[in-house]
Amino acid sequence: MHQTQYHRANSVEEAVNMAQGASDPRYLSGGMTLLPTMKQRLAAPSDLIDLRHIDAMQGVSEEGDMIVIGGATSHNDIATNDIIQSKAPGLAYQASHIGDPMVRHMGTIGGSVANNDPAACYPSAMIALNAVIRTNNREVAAEDFFTGLFDTVLDEGEIVTGVAFKAPEQSGYGKFPNPASRYAMAGVFVARTADGVRVAVTGAGDDGVFRATALEEALNDDFSASALDGKTIDSTGLMGDIHASPEYRAALIVAMAKRAVVLANGGDPDTKAATPAGTAAV
């Protein structure tokens, strides 16, 4: 990688100050995406400001009816956290399916949300859970936060300090990984909230994460996998690459939504995914 300067911040203010003094700074959270990108010389920030040691950005807590996850909390800590497992099991499941065990020890939710990789898992959960993204100077609704591929409303120097959401009544996630990279090729987060069912899709959209309203309507009527039988997704606006065409991604979205619902209903999506009758294509 190119030369860079490393700084370790111990507080959010310190991190912001460090960034202000640098020519082309990047915040370093887990580094599981940023460092491989730098190794391939596709990114060359002048300064890296490490956020992992900021105590205030660590861990899961409850503030009234809100669940709050610090931005520097690792995927592994989210996947194994008691509060998340009991109150948002879909998110625990999602976190346990990001990367691999080693990546989950380092990678953080704040880093992932701020990066907004179109194939990252968390953006789908954030939108489906109607979460609020907390930064060092504001709170932004997830739906307003993610603005396109690798793009968010974050200003220069702004830090994702955490995310907060109300516990859903039910939640589940279905992920069909890219066979090679194992990133989501279609990842669907389904949350049953007080305001109705919300379904958000990652890994598939040309502009990144999006809501699948047609699936939401079906699930509002009947929160079961079979409610999605025969539903289709328009492939317009979906990504196409050597691994998956837009049409295939469209089909995967429905299949993964079913898995998410099975999980949300307490089933085991890994074995029951194809159970619903009438799905065989031949």
């Binding site: 300067q5 580094g31 065990p101 080693m102």
Partner: protein, 168 residues
């Protein structure tokens, strides 16, 4: 340049390195701990797995400076605390869980971490296979690696039981 102080395999080490130095290169080039390998550029192959503060991580995607102040254990010290080899190392040999040996240090470190996370004796074949997502082997077809990790996990459960019985 950054000064980096680590405890590596129980020994305190201090070096001044370029900030861009990856932990894996720090271990290999500065400390001559060449058992930790580099097999890809994208944090996927797992030949570089070490323990940092008790957890398995990919040392190819961590700066040495990020690890400053941490405790790191590499394959060279995987057997510390055991008379001869770690049960995971023994099982890899006994079950022929390696051929060319290049992925082996990472596999063993990942296997040890798996047993730590699930508890000795609590692994099954599907869990082991799923948890090896971040470790690629081109030689063995994973068959004997899976067997070795399962056997080591059971062996560690057995010796835990024996230790507990002895303590009673």
């Amino acid at each position: 340049m950054s000064e980096v102080t680590l405890v590596v395999n129980g020994r305190k080490v201090k070096r001044v390195v370029e900030d861009r130095t990856l932990l894996v290169h720090f271990l290999r080039d500065e400390l001559d701990l060449t058992g930790t390998h580099v097999g890809c550029d994208t944090a996927q192959c797992g030949t570089c797995v070490v323990q940092m503060d008790g957890k398995a991580v990919k040392s190819c995607s961590i700066l040495a400076a990020q690890a400053d102040g941490s405790e790191v254990v590499t394959i060279e010290a995987a057997d510390s605390g055991y008379d001869d080899l770690h049960p995971m190392q023994k099982a890899f040999k006994e079950y022929h869980g390696l051929q060319c040996g290049f992925c082996t240090p990472g596999m063993i470190m990942a296997g040890i971490d798996m047993v730590r996370r699930y508890g000795p004796g609590n692994l099954d074949e599907a869990t082991v296979r799923q948890n090896l997502e971040g470790n690629i082997c081109r030689c063995t077809g994973y068959h004997n690696i899976v067997k070795a990790i399962l056997a080591a996990s059971d062996e560690m459960a057995k010796s835990d039981t024996q230790l507990n019985e002895a303590a009673e």
